[in-house]
């Protein structure tokens, strides 16, 4: 492993600090008074004034940023205006739903994409290949919110096969959990799968053209052997990089699906926090999301360098 760790970590840290500073500044500019939201419209101005002071809203954004960062270092991410509970506790309580959604849809995406891509690459122009190409073209053309609307109306409302919304934790009731996850996971996973098919198919075709794949064909390797052992590994670096990015930006990706299917994940927390001007929560969520992006970026790089040694030397 030749990745220069120290500069990379330092740079990531700096990125996170800049991101937090930006959010703090932006949040301070938001119109709408959090004190008004907390106290409701029957409150008096004096009451709101007092509350603004208690919440530290009368300090300037820079002071609030310094306080926030100071807190983050000690593990205290602040207290939510809306619930009065610690921000980090709230965020962590929303992670399971989002994580499950993301992981399952990645699994579905890969389970669909890898075999389809490898086999289409083996028989370029064949029946399967044409079908897959057409299919991915179509899937990529339908945005997730359209897929979501139609699947809810059709599978949940008309046919009544699956629940239209909601979430049950896996530990509470595994079956309920899965049945609630089917539609959101398909909505999210199939589009992702289409992207993966196209990426993997391309690199697999190139790998199949390499002398070394040719050698194994000559040596009489069977098709599955060839594809799964000889081709998948060298062609998966693009895929890994893609997955890294997908996981990192998952928060944005799941948001639509979370609101459509009423899943209590981080995305919905974000939107509701924006709606009630829960400034500490907004800052916390942004920092959390940015951290995930940075971490998954690094992990993807590590994975790629393991699989494809050339990348270490900047050859790819």
């Amino acid at each position: 492993m030749r990745i220069a760790w120290l500069p990379r970590a330092g740079r990531s840290l700096l990125v996170l600090i800049v991101v937090s500073a930006l959010t703090c500044q932006l949040a301070a500019l938001l119109p709408g008074d959090p004190a008004f939201v907390i106290l409701g419209d029957e409150s008096t101005e004096a009451q709101r004034e007092a509350l603004r002071h208690t919440l530290g809203l009368d300090q300037n954004a820079f002071v609030r940023f310094v306080n926030f960062m100071g807190g983050v270092v000690t593990g205290d991410w602040g207290t939510s205006f809306a619930s009065g509970r610690p921000v980090l506790v709230e965020i962590l309580s929303r992670v399971p739903a989002t994580a499950e959604l993301v992981i399952l849809s990645q699994v579905v995406a890969l389970a669909v994409a890898v075999p389809l891509a490898l086999h289409s690459a083996r028989n370029v122009g064949g029946k399967l290949d044409r079908l897959v190409s057409t299919g991915t073209f179509l899937l990529l053309a339908v945005p997730s919110f359209v897929v979501g609307i139609i699947t809810i109306q059709f599978f949940a409302v008309q046919l009544g096969w699956l629940p239209a919304s909601g979430y049950t934790a896996f530990v509470d009731d595994p079956l309920e959990n899965i049945s609630h996850m089917v539609l959101p996971v398909l909505t999210l996973g199939l589009a992702e799968g289409a992207v993966y098919v196209r990426a993997l198919r391309g690199s697999a075709i190139e790998a199949l053209r390499s002398p070394y794949a040719y050698a194994s064909i000559v040596r009489g390797a069977s098709d599955p052997q060839l594809l799964w052992w000889r081709i998948l590994r060298p062609s998966s670096s693009t895929l890994l990089a893609l997955i890294g990015v997908s996981l990192g930006v998952a928060l944005g990706g799941t948001l639509l699906v979370e609101s459509l299917f009423a899943i209590p994940g981080l995305g919905r927390l974000t939107v509701s926090s924006l709606g009630v001007r829960d400034l500490p929560m907004i800052q916390g969520v942004v920092l959390f999301a940015a951290t995930t992006v940075v971490i998954f970026g690094i992990l993807a790089d590590i994975a790629v360098s393991r699989i494809d040694p050339r990348s270490k030397h900047g050859l790819v």
Binding site: R11, S12, V15, L16, V18, V19, L22, T23, L26, L29, L30, P31, G32, V124, D129, S133, F137, L138, L140, A141, V142, P143, S144, F145, V146, I149, I150, Q153, V157, V195, R198, A199, R201, G202, S203, I205, T238, A241, L242, V245, S246, V249, L251, G252, G253, T254, L255, L256, G267, T270, V271, L274, I282, V285, V286, A289, A290, V293, V294, G297
Partner: protein, 283 residues
């Protein structure tokens, strides 16, 4: 979500599949986009029914000759609203490509040619933008500046800049090493001249397929934002907004949601077909 796709360069460059798009597909796609452009222009010129005028005598009517896409719950003509929505989507897409793509490419080329500090600054800005959760930022900006078309297009464009910067930087790096650039440098050509005569003409074609992908993702992003309530606000028509508005009556008046959705999907499909075609043509 779509916005995040903007940060997914791999999508565009990775598909090196050799799947020739048939000529007829390209022609159909071009025709469709041309037709849509004409429709949007005709609508913008005010030649179709006013998209904002309510007509309470024709509430939620199914598609007919008078109203090809039917009417919504205020009796507005969904066809006209869809065409106006096409206009909004086109503005967002073009601004993203020209502003986001333009600035991104310039930044990337600059970083690639100058290296050193320029490279470091660009790289850092790119990292920061990618780490920012785009939706929260866009939502905040939209809440702040108001849900106008310029605000939305420019914010979506801003998130496209780092992606273009990254891609064009690596394209520039490989081109800068080519003999003719080295030769031009040795011959004492000015930086500006090298940029406009040698580097840009080589970088731009490389970026073309990705520019097409960006057209599509920008349209989807705008739709997603409107759908979540952070896009163009009703009654201004936008595709995402139309689809979201009609959802309440999906069972009673499905055309209000599904026909604009169909328009959106076919347009994305057409753009993807053209993008794929360009990608192949490059090879």
């Amino acid at each position: 979500m779509a916005l995040s796709d903007l940060a997914t360069p791999g999508v565009a460059i990775a598909s090196v599949a050799r799947n020739r798009i048939p000529r007829i597909g390209v022609i159909v796609a071009l025709l469709w986009l041309a037709l849509l452009a004409v429709g949007a222009l005709v609508a913008a010129a005010g030649l179709t029914a006013d998209p904002l005028t309510n007509d309470y005598t024709v509430i939620s009517q199914a598609p007919s000759l008078a109203h090809p896409f039917g009417t919504d719950n205020l009796g507005r003509d969904v066809f006209s609203r869809s065409l106006h929505g096409a206009g909004s989507s086109a503005v967002v897409a073009l601004v993203t490509v020209f502003v986001g793509g333009g600035l991104g490419i310039l930044l990337g080329v600059w970083a690639g040619l100058r290296r050193g500090i320029a490279d470091a600054i660009t790289g850092f800005l790119t990292d920061v933008t990618i780490a920012l959760p785009s939706l929260i930022i866009v939502a905040t900006v939209v809440t702040l500046a108001g849900p106008s078309l310029p605000t939305i297009s420019l914010t979506i464009a801003a998130f496209a800049i780092p992606v273009f910067a990254r891609l064009s930087r690596s394209a520039t790096l490989s081109i800068a090493a080519e003999n003719y650039v080295v030769a031009a440098r040795t011959l004492g050509a000015s930086g500006w001249r090298i940029l406009t005569r040698e580097v840009l003409p080589s970088v731009l074609p490389v970026m073309m397929p990705f520019l097409m992908t960006t057209l599509a993702t920008a349209i989807i992003s705008e739709g997603a934002l409107s759908f979540l309530g952070f896009g163009l606000r009703p009654p201004e028509p936008s595709w995402g907004g139309l689809i979201a508005e009609g959802r309440t009556q999906l069972a009673l008046a499905p055309w209000v949601t599904l026909l604009p959705a169909l328009l959106l999907c076919v347009t994305i499909l057409a753009i993807n077909v053209l993008g794929e075609h360009l990608r192949e043509a490059k090879r």
